[in-house]
């Protein structure tokens, strides 16, 4: 699934104050005119636009792909989409924003990659950022690494490891992208082993894992 900037823009218009929306509009114009301005604007998004959920109360929209997004994620995604750059130049600017970003900026970059990916401009240039995000222990960053771009671009082995890491860290499977398209027998095998290990230790298996794992498989010897 891709994150359409037009939809994000519409949601932000309904969520942000007039002052915040004006700030964002000016910021997007400045970035479109001069890509270097994004470097100073990117860290200040939370202060101007806030940090609350993009859809309001999270559980009211559990089924939406955007239920984990915050308004600053959406604003940063629009900023990335406004960059007047392509291919290698785009990759370099995005990588620098990630490298020098705090946790919220890194999360914003990883989420925003999804809308840059729709044009093929970025190709696999931002894949190292996804790998970096998956090496952290910060659940917000890991979840964002497993959003649209990561879910589409990771190779199969890395994607499976990403899913398993999310399960280990208690990140709901509904928060990560691409399971329908990329879930395979090997991933089911890994999750089944995980469930068996949890059971052996007398611990609960997360409810969403049971949606993937067949309980009958657990009693089978390996």
């Amino acid at each position: 699934m891709t994150t359409n900037p037009a939809i994000l823009h519409l949601l932000l218009t309904s969520r942000l104050s007039v002052t915040a929306m004006n700030w964002l509009t000016t910021a997007l114009d400045r970035i479109a005119a001069d890509h270097t301005t994004i470097r100073a604007l990117f860290p200040t998004v939370g202060r101007h636009c806030g940090r609350e959920g993009l859809l309001g109360a999270p559980d009211a929209h559990e089924t939406s792909e955007l239920h984990r997004w915050s308004v600053d994620d959406a604003a940063r995604t629009l900023m990335l989409a406004a960059l007047p750059l392509s291919r290698a130049e785009l990759g370099t600017e995005v990588a620098a924003l990630y490298r020098y970003g705090d946790a919220a900026e890194k999360r914003g970059v990883l989420r925003g990659l999804g809308s840059l990916d729709s044009t093929e401009e970025l190709d696999e240039r931002a894949l190292p950022l996804v790998h970096d995000g998956l090496r952290t222990n910060d659940t917000r960053i890991i979840t964002a690494a497993m959003a649209a771009y990561g879910a589409r671009r990771l190779d199969q082995a890395a994607y499976r490891q990403g899913v398993l890491k999310c399960v280990f860290l208690g990140i709901p499977l509904s928060d990560i992208d691409g399971l329908d398209a990329r879930g395979d027998a090997e991933l089911v095998r890994m999750l089944t082993d995980y469930a068996r290990e949890r059971r052996a230790a007398g611990r609960d298996v997360p409810a969403d894992v049971w949606r993937v794992v067949d309980p009958n498989e657990l009693s089978r010897e390996t």
Binding site: R47, D102, K106, L169, G170, A201
Partner: protein
């Protein structure tokens, strides 16, 4: 008792400390960047350290219902190593970050020329970025170091009420009280100040512009010293309002000048509850 520890190095502390701090009433803290025991030898290791202060450490604190902020700066000890000087060039990038509420710890260690250069350069950065300043006073030759720090601050043109001079004691408090700067006191198990001496100073100087911190780090220190100071204040006849002034409202007022203090939402986090799919709070997490 709600507590804001305005100076504590959580990078060196355990999750047990976070849990005990929350139980004692700590809901917010500031972690100043400082030296980490082992001297660093290149700017790159500072970048990773600063990234932790605006990334991993606030995430860890969140799991325990404590709001984490930090100060960023090149500390006086490592200011003396020319290999670390380029850290000054990367500071502006971090001073722009959300969680960075002051420049610091700055000041003197051995009172060298290099320390003074780096101190002055960072006071300029604080003025440009409109951030408060946290000044560390030296362990050795403390009175002279405190006096010289106050001179450098005065020469910088930064208003004194935007500056805290930290690690004060009975012999340095007067200098700072007269300067108009905020007065910081680090309560340590053996060295620096203790809670009874602190109470005596509060009786004498009042609660205005007074900040109490644990300065807990990788050395022998106690992250609950702020709570113990609050208890000592109450035992000595101060009321809850006085305690709240010193342990909460004062640090909030000081760091609020940054415009970046975020104090909402942490009280709702329950110990033991899952929080944003946390990984740190989860006790026995085998091999992940």
């Amino acid at each position: 008792m709600r507590i804001f520890d305005p100076h504590i190095h959580m990078t060196s502390r355990t999750t047990d400390d976070y849990a005990a701090m929350h139980a004692a009433g700590v809901r917010a803290l500031v972690e100043p960047s400082f030296w980490v025991g082992q001297p660093r030898t290149s700017p790159e290791t500072f970048v990773d350290y600063f990234d932790g202060l605006v990334g991993w450490e606030p995430f860890r604190a969140d799991q325990f219902g404590i709001r984490h902020h930090c100060t960023i700066g090149l500390n006086p000890k490592e200011a003396n190593d020319p290999r670390c000087r380029e850290v000054l060039d990367i500071l502006p990038r971090y001073l722009a970050k959300d969680g960075v509420v002051a420049v610091g710890e700055l000041g003197y260690d051995a009172m060298t020329d290099a320390e003074e250069e780096v101190f002055t350069a960072q006071l300029d950065l604080a003025r440009e970025h409109e951030l408060p300043v946290l000044v560390h006073t030296p362990h050795r030759d403390k009175v002279a170091g405190t006096r010289r720090s106050l001179d450098v601050v005065a020469a910088s043109g930064i208003p004194p009420h935007h500056v805290v001079i930290d690690h004060l004691n009975e012999v340095t408090v007067d200098l700072v009280a007269d300067s108009g700067c905020w007065m910081g006191f680090s309560l340590y198990p053996d060295t620096k100040m203790d809670e009874d001496r602190m109470v005596t100073l509060l009786r004498e100087y009042g609660t205005e512009r007074m900040l109490i911190n644990s300065a807990a780090d990788w050395g022998k220190s106690d992250p609950l010293k702020t709570a113990r100071a609050g208890a000592a204040m109450l035992a000595a006849g101060f009321d809850h309002n006085d305690v709240d002034t010193v342990l909460w409202r004062n640090p909030v007022a000081f760091y609020e000048r940054s415009g970046k203090l975020v104090l909402d939402a942490t009280d709702t986090v329950e110990q033991g509850a899952t929080f944003a799919g946390n990984s740190v709070l989860r006790g026995a997490r085998p091999g992940s």
